[in-house]
């Protein structure tokens, strides 16, 4: 009966020791090694995850990620780690055959191959193939000893000892259980007490009561130094059984009581734990409340901060807007200043024009006035010859003034863009005849030979009135700058199928290069009035240039001093329909 109880107790003691020997292995140098590995393979996310879950002992996730990592075809070392993870996880999930397959996949060159051996040993142990298990454990032994990790060595020896125990090879089991690492380690841990109990159980089984009691006692004494009630209870209980067998019932009773006490205190502890748990829950609730309050405060802070943020943004926007507007204003002022300068310039031109025109008009009208006075004086003396001359003179003056006014009007209209402009087909010959008609008296007076040799088949596409203004001015100039008995000739040259070249040729005083340049100069600044009496305002020439431009024509001047001038105009021809 008692033996049976012992057996039961021994088994009860063995199982946790096996579990213990495995658990401790995950936390030391190996885990540090794989963490380092994971860090050096940062790009392999699956490996990292597998490693993470392996350490967290979440076996399913470890299996999933290590499989993913294996599928993604990484280097050999990572593969081996993955196989190891998988084997270990499968072992943990009690799928021993699959685990064995995974472990077999690992190459012998793997740095921690002894762990593989060790695990395979476990697998055989679980499958109760103890001899094989011992074989693998022994394979792993040398390497494990090299690492000098006491708990690991202890686990290994415990496992080997247990295997021998199962094989009833007590002497060998005793040998392993007696190893120093198990019994007299530097630190007293639960496993030490368990080892002591184990060996005690071993001796007890062999009826070596003396040794057994020694180890039981040792376990019991050691158990006093630790806080595990379960272990204390077991040690005390074992002592009670031992004392009972020795028929020392008093002591047995005392040990029993102690065991009961420990059991109770275990229960008490459970209660305390429950209370502690409750308190913890309460504390958590309290904390939760605090958290909520803090959250609300946080929210408030957030809103406040957001308020500040938006206000800052708003201010910034206003600032940028202000700067932009200021920039615009500066730009506008610049433009306005530029425009003002241009306007001033134009105004100056206009003023100049006005002064010249009014001067001209004033002298014209004045001449007319004096001429009229002379006329009335002559009328009294009835000198008809002189009278006629005076009238002709008057009409010349009036004509001059009229054409000046006409030009002025057209110029003004052109400037204000009020001039009506309508292009149509115009018979050049007829128009020249019409213009010449008005100058007949003047031509006769100066005895100028006028010739219109323009082809009667030329039709040009221009605005009739502006053409008349152009021709009038040019004819006027030609007559003005011709000497008596000179010639003025209008003729055309065919140089382009689309354009007609009209040349107004006089053999008058001509002009030099500078004058030509000045006349053709772009811009609205009028040529300065020279001292010479016969040079006018330049208004007529300006008008001509602008009108020609508006009619899509061009003007060129060829001139030689005292030999004459050629005004060369081009105008677009009317397109004949077929």
């Amino acid at each position: 009966m008692i033996q049976k109880i012992h057996n039961f107790l021994l088994l009860f003691v063995f199982l946790p020791s096996i579990a213990l020997s495995q658990q401790e292995k995950g936390s030391d140098y190996f885990s540090i090694a794989i963490q380092k590995k994971a860090q050096s393979y940062k790009s392999e996310i699956n490996f990292k995850k597998a490693q993470y879950f392996f350490l967290k002992e979440e076996w399913d996730s470890t299996l999933v990620y290590s499989m993913k990592q294996l599928n993604s075809n990484s280097d050999l070392e990572i593969k081996e780690y993955c196989h190891y993870f998988r084997g270990f996880s499968l072992k943990k999930k009690s799928l021993y055959t699959e685990a064995l397959i995974e472990f077999d996949l690992i190459n012998k060159s793997f740095q921690y191959y002894y762990l593989v051996d060790y695990n395979i040993g476990h697998l055989f142990h679980f499958e109760k193939k103890f001899k094989k298990a011992i074989l693998y454990f022994l394979k792993a032994e040398t390497e494990i000893l090299n690492h000098k990790d006491e708990s690991e060595i202890a686990g290994l020896y415990t496992n080997i000892g247990i295997c021998y125990l199962h094989l009833n090879q007590f002497s060998k089991a005793e040998f392993y259980f007696k190893k120093d690492a198990l019994l007299n380690p530097k630190q007293i841990t639960k496993s030490v007490i368990r080892s002591n109990i184990n060996i005690a159980g071993l001796y007890y089984e062999q009826y070596k009561d003396k040794q057994a009691i020694y180890y039981f006692k040792k376990a019991y004494t050691l158990s006093k130094n630790i806080k595990d009630f379960d272990l204390k209870q077991t040690a005390a209980f074992n002592m009670a059984v031992v004392e009972e067998n020795r028929s020392n019932y008093k002591k047995a009773l005392a040990y029993r009581k102690e065991a009961e006490d420990w059991k109770d205190s275990l229960n008490n502890q459970n209660k305390i734990w429950a209370v502690a748990d409750y308190e913890k829950k309460f504390a958590v609730a309290q904390k939760q409340k605090q958290i909520k309050v803090l959250e609300v405060e946080n929210k408030l802070k957030n809103t406040q901060r957001n308020g500040f943020f938006f206000a800052a943004i708003g201010l910034l926007l206003i600032l940028t807007g202000g700067v932009y507007l200021y920039g615009q204003k500066v730009k506008n002022t610049k433009i306005i200043v530029l425009q003002k300068n241009k306007l001033d310039e134009l105004n100056a031109t206009k003023d100049q024009l006005f002064s010249i025109v009014s001067h001209d008009l004033r002298s014209s009208v004045n001449a007319l006035k004096t001429s009229n006075a002379k006329l009335s004086a002559t009328l009294e003396t009835k000198n008809y010859d002189e009278l006629n001359q005076l009238i002709i003179q008057n009409s010349t003056i009036a004509n001059g003034a009229y054409s000046l006014l006409d030009n002025l009007l057209h110029w003004a209209m052109l400037q204000t863009k009020q001039l009506y402009f309508h292009k149509e087909s115009v018979h050049l010959y007829s128009v020249i005849q019409q213009i010449e008609y008005n100058y007949k008296p003047l031509i006769l007076d100066k005895a100028i030979t006028f010739e219109n040799s323009v082809s009667k088949n030329i039709f040009i596409f221009v605005d009739l009135d502006s053409l008349k203004i152009i021709l009038r001015n040019l004819l006027d100039n030609a007559i003005k700058f011709s000497d008596e008995n000179g010639t003025v000739n209008f003729y055309t040259q065919e140089t382009d199928p689309d354009f007609c070249e009209l040349i107004i040729h006089d053999n008058g005083i001509g002009m030099n290069e500078n004058t030509i340049k000045e006349l053709l100069q772009e811009g609205e600044i009028l040529a300065k009035k020279n001292n010479s009496e016969i040079i006018g305002t330049g208004l007529g020439m300006q008008l001509c240039k602008q009108m020609i431009k508006k009619n899509s024509g061009t003007i060129a001047i060829e001139s030689e001093l005292n030999k004459g001038t050629k005004m060369i105009l081009t105008f677009p021809k009317t397109r004949t329909n077929g």
Binding site: Y420, K456, N457, F459, D465
Partner: protein, 248 residues
């Protein structure tokens, strides 16, 4: 050939007197001078007028344009006209421009300018531009008249007075009941412009006014016109006979 009748609408007597002088000197007949809008309309409908000279401003109002707009509304009653204006005001022009065909003359103008403007108005009105000034042609053809340029002025010949036309290269001999004269126009142009139902080709170079046919002798290929003009009928051009309602 008859003189052309001109109606003058002008409120300044000096201007109209000058116009009348110029026009009569150049063989135009002035049928009347209107000084306001109402008179103008009255004169226009009472008398036969071929050309109107309109002053844009009558008594300070642009009634001249109103008049042109009025006569333009009634189809077939409109006649060629010339606007006279002393202002180049854009607005007035924009309005006047709508009274198509539009021709205008700036005051002051000389004799040559007004004659040119009249000719231009006729050309534009009958849409036969560049005629009078060119050397190839001197006649514009309307539905009722031939307008022929003679020296500086225009003459008219009523189409229904024409008996027949003989074409010689670029010239045409026009034979009316009273007279015979030469105009400058090509055969293709004149045959295109004349009413094809009335004027038919009877020969390669002869166009006959069918209204004036008195007798057709098919046996001799002869057409006898009013005034006993005998015209040859060529076989190629006999087709027109089918269109005619012939008694007998």
């Amino acid at each position: 050939m008859d003189n052309i009748n001109v109606l003058i609408i002008e409120d300044t007597p000096e201007q109209s007197d000058a116009l009348i002088k110029v026009l009569t000197e150049n063989n135009y007949t002035v049928t009347g001078v209107a000084t306001n809008f109402a008179d103008a309309l009255k004169l226009f409908y009472e008398s036969t007028v071929e050309i109107i000279i309109i002053d844009v401003f009558l008594d300070g109002k642009p009634d001249g344009i109103t008049f042109a707009e009025t006569i333009n509304i009634i189809p077939n009653s409109s006649k060629p006209f010339v606007f006279l204006t002393s202002s180049q005001d854009r607005q007035i022009f924009e309005r006047a421009k709508l009274t198509k065909p539009f021709s205008f003359l700036m005051k002051p103008f000389n004799e040559l300018e007004i004659l040119y403007a009249i000719e231009m108005a006729v050309e534009k009105f009958y849409a036969q531009t560049n005629v009078f000034m060119s050397e190839e042609q001197d006649t514009v053809i309307s539905n009722d008249y031939l307008f022929i340029k003679k020296k500086n002025s225009l003459k008219k010949v009523a189409l229904n007075e024409i008996l027949y036309i003989e074409v010689e290269e670029r010239y045409c001999n026009i034979i009316t009941e009273k007279e015979k004269f030469v105009i400058q126009i090509s055969l293709t142009k004149i045959s295109n412009l004349l009413d094809k139902n009335k004027f038919v080709k009877t020969h390669r170079n002869t166009i006959v006014n069918t209204d004036k046919i008195e007798e057709i002798i098919l046996a001799d290929n002869l057409i006898i016109l009013k005034g006993d003009h005998k015209i040859n009928l060529s076989d190629t051009y006999k087709d027109f006979l089918k269109k005619m309602n012939i008694l007998s």
